[in-house]
């Protein structure tokens, strides 16, 4: 009896397996043709598809922009349904894709991913991305300069059309004017400020994205500039010694940090919470307009302002990409193209929606589109675009970031 049941189950499994394999193969062939077909065909095929976009979900503004601005337009104009799937960290879906790849899953549930930096590198190295699709997008061809360094490279890694730029971000410090009237202008001044105001500053524990970015500023300023890190990490023989002044700096300020550096906020959300409730006087953000939108929401005090370092702050481009096993690639292409439209980018620029800098080449926009972008109100907490533009530092390539994130645990947190 039992044998019979087992045999039946086995047969069933085999049959199911065979079916899904067949379906997989035809679907795979179909999507490979997609890169060769013209935009009309793609747009027609996209109709009725349901696109799952996996992205960091920690910011309500960004979520709302997608759910209430982007998704309804896609639905209306292309009959594409955009489903936002929030994740805590981009690494989560990279992990999922690695697993799906080793399991041979050809029809994945992830259609669009929001990535950059080390996650892009990991995805590219492990061949988790679909292909050279950016050049297929009409809005990419019309409004973006593919040879600009910030579009052609992602944290030093050549993009090769595997992802399309969605926006630009720049690191800013956020402070409460009432508590820190004259914010520090360099890492040295920050150290002094921290010592004079014990318990009023901290940064998110690595591997938090923003905490990691903060430390890269320390690296640039304490070890003599970013230029030396424009080569692969493996080529610098004395890397450990070069990093030493950074660990020294971080350990030196540690006793004066929030909770005497005994612990660090586990996420940027926690640091923002500490700032909002007045426990610390500074926070930070890789999004120059985030503070303004938090003030608008009434979460951050009215006296909130942002500042940059004299030596500049890190800036990067963030991208949208399509995984190798996306089930609805046509829909994904249409959705990404729509998110690169001047209208979508202008809406994204407004702190009410998100406040993310546009990925488009300003010069390529029509006079009318330029005007629309210039008219966006940034609130008092956001620095002028020119000031941000003039103080940008290039990002560090991800092989360094891996070394630094591992080293932080050993050299700073553990002590």
């Amino acid at each position: 009896m039992r044998k019979l049941a087992l045999a039946a189950a086995g047969l069933l499994a085999l049959a199911l397996g065979a079916c899904s394999n067949e379906a997989n193969d035809t679907a795979a062939n179909k999507t490979d043709d997609l890169l060769a077909s013209d935009w009309e065909t793609i747009a027609t095929e996209a109709g009725g598809q349901e696109v799952n976009m996996y992205m960091w979900g920690g910011n309500e503004n960004i979520n709302r922009y997608l759910d209430e601005w982007v998704a309804p337009r896609l639905q209306k104009e292309y009959d594409v349904e955009l489903q936002r799937v929030p994740v805590n960290d981009a690494q989560d879906f990279i992990n999922q894709l690695v697993d799906e790849k080793s399991a041979g899953k050809k029809q994945g549930s992830i259609d669009i991913i929001w990535i950059n930096g080390e996650n892009f590198k990991a995805a590219k190295d492990n061949e988790l991305l679909w292909g050279d699709f950016a050049g297929k997008l009409p809005n990419f061809n019309e409004y973006i300069d593919p040879d600009a360094l910030e579009v052609a490279e992602d944290f030093g890694e050549p993009v090769e059309g595997l992802e399309a730029p969605w926006g630009k971000a720049q690191f800013v410090f956020v402070h409460d004017e009432k508590k820190a009237a004259e914010p520090p202008k360099s890492m040295d001044e920050l150290a002094e400020w921290v010592k004079e105001n014990p318990g009023q500053f901290t940064y998110p524990a690595l591997p938090d994205f923003t905490g990691s970015a903060f430390i890269r500023h320390v690296l640039y300023e304490t070890t003599g500039g970013y230029e030396q890190y424009q080569q692969p990490a493996a080529d610098i023989e004395d890397l450990e010694q070069r990093l030493a002044p950074m660990w020294q700096y971080l350990n030196e300020i540690e006793p004066y940090l929030w909770r005497e550096g005994e612990t660090y906020p586990e996420s940027l959300a926690k640091l923002d919470q500490l700032y909002a409730s007045g426990e610390v006087s500074m926070t930070m953000s890789y999004d120059p307009a985030l503070a303004a939108s938090e003030v608008m929401k009434g979460r951050f005090p009215e006296s909130t302002k942002t500042f940059l370092l004299e030596g500049g702050t890190l800036a990067n481009t963030h991208f949208l990409s399509i995984p190798f096993n996306s089930s609805d690639k046509a829909g994904a292409l249409v959705a990404i193209n729509e998110m690169l439209s001047p209208e979508a980018q202008t809406a994204k620029l407004s702190p009410e929606n998100w406040g993310d800098l546009s990925a488009l080449d300003f010069e390529k926009l029509s006079a009318e589109q330029q005007k629309a972008m210039n008219e966006v109100d940034f609130g008092t907490a956001t620095l002028p675009l020119e000031e941000l533009e003039g103080n940008r530092l290039p990002e560090l390539s991800s092989d360094y970031i891996e070394v630094i994130e591992k080293g932080w645990m050993e050299n700073v947190a553990k002590d």
């Binding site: 009896m1 189950a9 690695v98 492990n126 690595l206 591997p207 612990t263 906020p265 586990e266 645990m409």
Partner: protein, 294 residues
């Protein structure tokens, strides 16, 4: 014949799910912890991850913290849970059933709240700039907010213990109360006849009756807090972290090549949990939680 296989058929979906997801995941983790990771081109087996783990100070620090916090959480929630159960039992004797129902529901309330939400509630209430601290500062009990004791993200782990004590005490009470409810009313009268006071009654009858179920409940809490992630992630410190958080830190920072070690932590955790579970099972069998009742 259909009748004979029906139970198996009904169980089939559940068994498949468990085998595939649970054991499949565990097995996959086990392979990766041995360095077998075809997706990044690693197909050799080795115990490297385990040996480097056992040699790292961070792992042992983390293990000690984990045991300390789990033991304290279990002990405190066990004591609180027992008090709640006995209190409910005493109320049952004196008050009307509606009032009893109310108290019952009240103590069961934390059971319905997810751990993550519970942990966040503790953060908002007990952090130095939290709700409680602001109220105390406003009414002048403390001069300023930093005078409030550090209860959240403290290196001892009081925040985590607090969250678990609050969340798990009702669970212990839920395990113990049914045993108490089986104590016949007459026993109380008989004990009174022999001159036993309330205190004697609790010591001589109530405590021995609940002891087996109570110990098992405490053990379950210990094993659970030992391997749960979200509360220590929210309420713990960066270093040393509890083992599940330590595994997450290893898994999410660094490269794919660091994954075997992160998964080795998980395997060690799973092994310890199984061991503790077996011990708990052994005691529950031996003491036969319901012995003498049937």
């Amino acid at each position: 014949m259909l009748r004979k296989i029906k139970p198996y058929l009904l169980l089939f979906p559940a068994i498949i799910t468990i085998v595939l997801l649970f054991f499949g995941g565990l097995f996959d983790g086990f392979l990766k912890s041995l360095g077998y990771f075809p997706a990044i081109g690693e197909t050799e087996f080795s115990l490297k991850a385990y040996s480097s783990l056992l040699q790292s100070v961070a792992f042992w620090d983390s293990l000690i913290v984990t045991i300390r916090i789990a033991a304290l959480s279990a002990a405190i929630s066990a004591i609180l849970g027992a008090i709640v159960a006995v209190a409910l039992f005493m109320i049952q004797e004196t008050s009307k059933s509606r009032a009893l129902n109310f108290w019952n529901r009240l103590f069961q309330l934390p059971l319905t709240i997810p751990h993550l939400v519970g942990g966040y509630v503790i953060v908002l209430l007990f952090m130095q700039s939290g709700f409680l601290s602001k109220i105390l500062a406003a009414i002048g009990v403390i001069d300023q907010i930093p005078d409030f004791p550090v209860l959240v993200n403290d290196s001892f782990g009081w925040g985590i213990i607090l969250a678990y004590a609050w969340k798990e005490a009702p669970f212990v009470a839920l395990m113990v109360y049914p045993v108490l409810a089986r104590i016949h009313k007459q026993w109380r009268d008989v004990s009174r006849v022999y001159g036993a006071k309330n205190r004697d009654y609790i010591r001589e009858i109530v405590v021995p009756a609940i002891l087996p179920a109570w110990t098992v409940a405490a053990f379950i809490v210990f094993v659970f807090t030992f391997s749960a992630f979200e509360v220590p992630f929210l309420l713990g410190v960066t270093y040393p972290s509890m083992l599940p958080v330590y595994s997450y830190q290893l898994y999410s920072s660094g490269t794919l090549a660091d994954r075997p070690e992160a998964l080795a932590v998980n395997l060690v955790l799973a092994l310890l949990t199984v061991l503790l579970g077996l011990i708990a099972y052994y005691f529950s069998k031996r003491w036969n939680v319901l012995k003498g009742w049937e």
